[in-house]
């Protein structure tokens, strides 16, 4: 874990890094609190967007249909995990995608390169976004509600779940880094984010309902299944040994994202003077 944190944050004293990131979070809150109505409307919009999918599930199950033989509570648990993970991702690092694109276009990306820390670390520290917290709470509500309706979960399953949840956040970070890196050269790549957004939605459904080839892609190559289904499958007693291969794939995916980031930084040309 420390190794990965050092990879992202470029080593250095953890206390100092924590201080910078806490300060960044505080400033993000101050910035969004400057426009109060936008702050509250933003939270509501994010929450409404996040809960759209569970509402659709309710409609499907109320009409007597089901998804791949799963109970509504099992689907809620998967979607709860997905919402919590994507909510944390949005709060902690997803804004680096938009921030990079915006800063490169405006020329203020240069300013980040003048700071004596890992560029990615500074970018994350200056790109926190509070709105995602609505998804975290929405997801938690769904997750806890579903937990009451499924068989009890053992301590070892909880521990494995927490481990997989950390891997899910690492995978989300990898996606953010790749999209942000593309924004360095491919300025104005907002459509790429839309594509990612659509693909990541697969994580909020059981991967087993998809065709085999797609299942392989979602579990190992573009490992979005880790963002919801795989961690939830541990709680539902549906996990298979292949989840460990998915974990390795996610770690490799993260490593590749960092290499890609470094490669793109070298290609950064800044804007005209």
């Amino acid at each position: 874990m420390v190794f990965w944190l050092q990879k992202i944050y470029g080593g250095g004293c953890m206390r100092k890094l924590l201080q910078i990131h806490l300060h960044g979070m505080k400033l993000a809150f101050f910035s969004s609190a400057a426009y109060r109505s936008d702050f509250f409307i933003g939270l509501l919009v994010v929450l409404a967007g996040g809960l759209l999918s569970p509402l659709l599930i309710v409609l499907i199950y109320q009409n007597g249909a089901s998804i791949g033989g799963y109970s509504i509570y099992q689907i809620f648990l998967i979607q709860g995990v997905y919402l919590i993970a994507s909510g944390f991702g949005a709060v902690l690092f997803f804004d680096i995608v938009f921030s990079t694109s915006f800063r490169v276009r405006e020329g203020t990306f240069d300013i980040l390169l003048l700071k004596p820390h890992s560029l990615l670390s500074i970018l994350i520290a200056t790109s926190y976004n509070n709105n995602g917290i609505a998804n975290v709470f929405g997801g938690m509500f769904l997750f806890i509600y579903a937990l009451y309706h499924i068989p009890s979960v053992s301590t070892s399953e909880w521990l494995l779940f927490i481990f997989l949840f950390v891997i899910a956040l690492t995978t989300l970070l990898a996606f953010s880094v790749i999209l942000a890196a593309l924004g360095i050269i491919w300025v104005g790549n907002s459509r790429l984010f839309d594509i990612y957004n659509s693909i990541s939605k697969f994580a909020s459904y059981p991967v087993t309902i998809f065709q085999k080839n797609l299942r392989m892609i979602l579990s190992f190559f573009i490992p979005v299944a880790m963002l919801g289904f795989i961690p939830a499958s541990v709680m539902l007693n549906l996990s298979s040994p292949s989840l460990y291969i998915s974990v390795i794939c996610c770690i490799l995916f993260f490593g590749i994202s960092l290499l890609f980031w470094k490669y793109m930084i070298r290609r950064y040309t800044s804007t005209g003077g």
Binding site: H23, L27, G107
Partner: protein, 325 residues
């Protein structure tokens, strides 16, 4: 004085794209783009001494900002070497940037929705500045720039001059040895410019080296001890400000108001003339070829002089000549 910056044979080549402006050109560019290579900086070499204020000037697109970005570690060069305080900026960026500060007139370090003091405190965390040192430096800066009253207001409510002063605070809080300034007085009124120039002089007297790029000749005249002029990516002048001013020693600007309208006469030694009306004109003369007295006597005979103003040719004119070389 010891050398603090050593630039040798530095070059930077960009890949750029071009397209026409017609509907067809734009549609075509969605599928095919014409790429072209631009040599922004071509084999330039120069040194900067510790504690010096160097003016790096040149026309738009000359390569000044590219040079500055390479020197600050923001950009990789295509070839050449840079040694700044034993660092290669783009290779040891994280360690190197602890020792430098930068103010970009057109790129803000402040955050639009929150007061500058919050941004200063973020820099305190980033540079790990001890509280006592931070408070001391901040107090001194606020006092020098007279901005105590505004640092708690949201940045978006500040004037351009106030924001620029805060940018200087951001750049200086960690006590850098070298500060890079890219058009720091752009868009400022004369009072704000004066305040910032005084601030730079004060900081320079403490031994901080400044590299200044600007289009404001006033900045150069009042601050720079040495001037490097870049044009088309190449250095066309590298000498002291007095040497640059010396280029105007044999040049004079003579403004004449006459009684009879000017006739076009080709006078040897008159390098340029502009006419406000047909009774008032400015002549730039080379005194090595024609003396002031001879010129005035000649013009008096021809048009009858009613008023005359003689001045040293402005430094802008010399710089302009170097720009169009």
């Amino acid at each position: 004085m010891s050398t603090i910056i050593e630039v040798k044979n530095l070059s930077k080549r960009y890949k750029s794209y071009e397209r026409g402006s017609s509907f067809l050109d734009v549609t075509k560019s969605l599928f095919f783009r014409n790429s072209l290579y631009v040599d922004a900086v071509r084999d330039i070499s120069f040194n900067v001494d510790d504690g010096e204020i160097l003016g790096l000037i040149g026309p738009n697109g000359a390569g000044k900002s590219t040079t500055l970005k390479i020197l600050t570690g923001i950009m990789y060069p295509t070839s050449g070497s840079v040694n700044i305080m034993n660092f290669t900026p783009w290779e040891n960026r994280k360690h190197y940037v602890k020792n430098i500060g930068a103010v970009f007139g057109q790129k803000s370090q402040l955050m639009w929705d929150i007061p500058p003091i919050d941004a200063f405190l973020l820099n305190k965390s980033i540079y790990d500045i001890p509280k006592i040192r931070f408070d001391t430096i901040l107090e001194e800066m606020l006092d020098l720039l007279s901005i105590e009253a505004i640092i708690k207001k949201p940045t978006r409510q500040l004037s351009l001059g106030e924001r620029m002063k805060c940018e200087f605070v951001m750049a200086m809080l960690h006590n850098p040895k070298i500060v890079f300034l890219d058009e720091p007085t752009i868009g400022l009124d004369v009072i704000a410019k004066d305040k910032i120039r005084l601030f730079i002089q004060k900081m320079n007297s403490k031994g901080i080296t400044f590299i200044l790029t600007t289009h404001d000749i006033g900045d150069i005249e009042s601050l720079a001890q040495r001037v490097v002029i870049i044009n088309h990516g190449e250095i066309v002048f590298d000498d002291s400000i007095s040497a640059l001013k010396g280029k105007t020693e044999n040049r004079r600007s003579i403004i004449l108001t006459v009684q009879r309208p000017f006739d076009f006469v080709n006078i040897e030694g008159v390098e340029e003339c502009t006419f406000k009306t047909n009774l008032e004109g400015e002549f730039f003369i080379n005194t090595d070829i024609i003396s002031i007295a001879d010129f005035i006597a000649y013009m008096n005979n021809l048009n009858g002089i009613s008023d005359v103003v003689v001045a040293q040719q402005p430094i802008e004119k010399v710089i302009k000549e170097l720009y169009i070389l």
